[in-house]
Amino acid sequence: MTTPSVPAALALPSLAVSFDRIEKRFGTLFALRGISLDVQPGEFVALLGPNGAGKTTLLRIAALLSTPTRGRVRFTLGSRSASAQESGDGIPAESAKKLIGMVGHNPLLYEDLTAAENLKLFAQLYGLDEPAACVTRALDSCGLADRANGIVRTFSRGMRQRLALARALLHGPSLLLLDEPGTGLDRQATAWLSETLARLRREGRTMIMSTHARSESLELATRAVRLSGGRIAEDTRGSDPASLLARLRSDLPAGSRGVE
């Protein structure tokens, strides 16, 4: 099985994302309290933290699915070496949607449509040329070509996540947001996910992934950010994320697949 890749014609420059004093409130509950975070083009940031730390909320704001109560998100097209501020090529939020892909904890697929119908729908919504060819390529790349006409409802969790990743990569996004993509996957599917993420990292995509400290995919992260109570508690920027990961893992009970 090969991993999803983007056709050369669709290759896009890396995208930086900058969170500037982001606050998010749901009624009286603060989900995020003044998050400032610059994610460089090509970086692979792992978001860690307990349930309720604000990881999913931050990803939803980055995906433009949620509007911050205060603060702003800025997207910047640029080379891998340029920072979000230096490149100075800020782009409107709506245009950024074409450059963003997201894989949620939920696969975001229509369960009563087939795999091919799901991908065709999103190929059309992204305005891709030759949607049918894009769908065939995407199904091949995620190893589901033989299940193209299978109804998604009948798919296993692993197959749905593969299709979800194919959907998220269909339009060749520069920024990939992953919200605990490995949850509920068996060993084989987890290995496939790690292999896929490694390939996407080599392709130079910017990635932000919320996950737990036991995730195998964490080894690929170039930076780890730990959230706690809606604030950044630790950020390994400029240093090796391995030390933070090792410390977090050592705090977990033996054999746990914990939420940390």
Binding site: A63, S66, M102, N106, L108, L109, Y110, L125, R167
Partner: protein, 224 residues
């Protein structure tokens, strides 16, 4: 991508899902049919009474059936969080709403195509000579019902007890539409039949106002 093109893609998706599951159309049709038949047996109206009360019964059946049909059009997006997938796409929120409105209009109109002849037979009202004008009145009334209904279905999706919230929010808002649609239909069933331009204009104005309002608040409606 233009709003019309994006809306047509969403519409095609809605039709495909409905053809596969037949959830909305079947429930709507059966419910409205039961209402019309039960009213017919409960009142056993004479032709004169049918002309007088029939339009009200017909539109109440459409209203109840519409409110039954509109909630699932958003609720089924919630099951797999597929509304997020639509909102991730580079299309406007209004295009998503417009696609859903078009689909709901087609479903309710399809139900009406079956229900209206049954109504005219059961209530012994002549249909000849008014078909074109009746289509105009039914079309404008149904359009208003689905525009407002789709907007309030989007609002109630985020509410607790959402199945209950939709009719509670929607029915008072649709009261002016119901009055206008009933009056315009009554004029068509009168002897001699006539097209009441004032009520037809009211229906058209209702449609335009709610469509404009939905365009203005579409982003707010679809955000969490």
């Amino acid at each position: 991508m233009s709003t019309a093109r994006a809306a047509s893609i969403v519409l095609a998706k809605e039709l495909r899902l409905e053809l596969r599951t037949r959830q909305l159309l079947t429930a709507t049709l059966v419910f409205a049919l039961i209402v019309i038949v039960m009213f017919s047996y409960a009142f056993d109206p004479t032709p004169a009474e049918s002309r007088h009360y029939g339009p009200g019964l017909l539109w109440i059946a459409f209203l109840f059936a519409g409110s039954l049909m509109l909630h699932p059009s958003f609720a089924r997006e919630q099951a797999g969080e597929t509304m997020d997938a639509l909102r991730l796409s580079p299309i406007s929120s209004f295009a998503i709403l417009l696609g859903k409105m078009a689909a709901n209009f087609i479903f309710l109109a399809a139900a009406e195509v079956i229900l209206v002849p049954i109504f005219f037979v059961l209530y012994d009202v002549p249909l000849a000579g008014i078909v074109g004008r009746l289509i105009l009145v039914l079309g404008l009334g149904t359009l208003g019902l689905v525009i407002a209904g789709t907007v309030f279905a989007a609002i109630s999706t985020h509410a607790r007890m959402r199945e209950l919230m939709l009719p509670l929010l929607l029915l008072p808002v649709l009261a002016p539409l119901l009055v206008a649609a009933v009056q315009a239909t009554s004029a068509l069933l009168a002897n001699p039949p006539s097209l009441d331009i004032a009520w037809v204009a009211f229906l058209a104005a209702f449609d335009v106002i709610f469509m404009t309002a939905s365009w203005l608040v579409a982003d707010f409606l679809l955000e969490e």
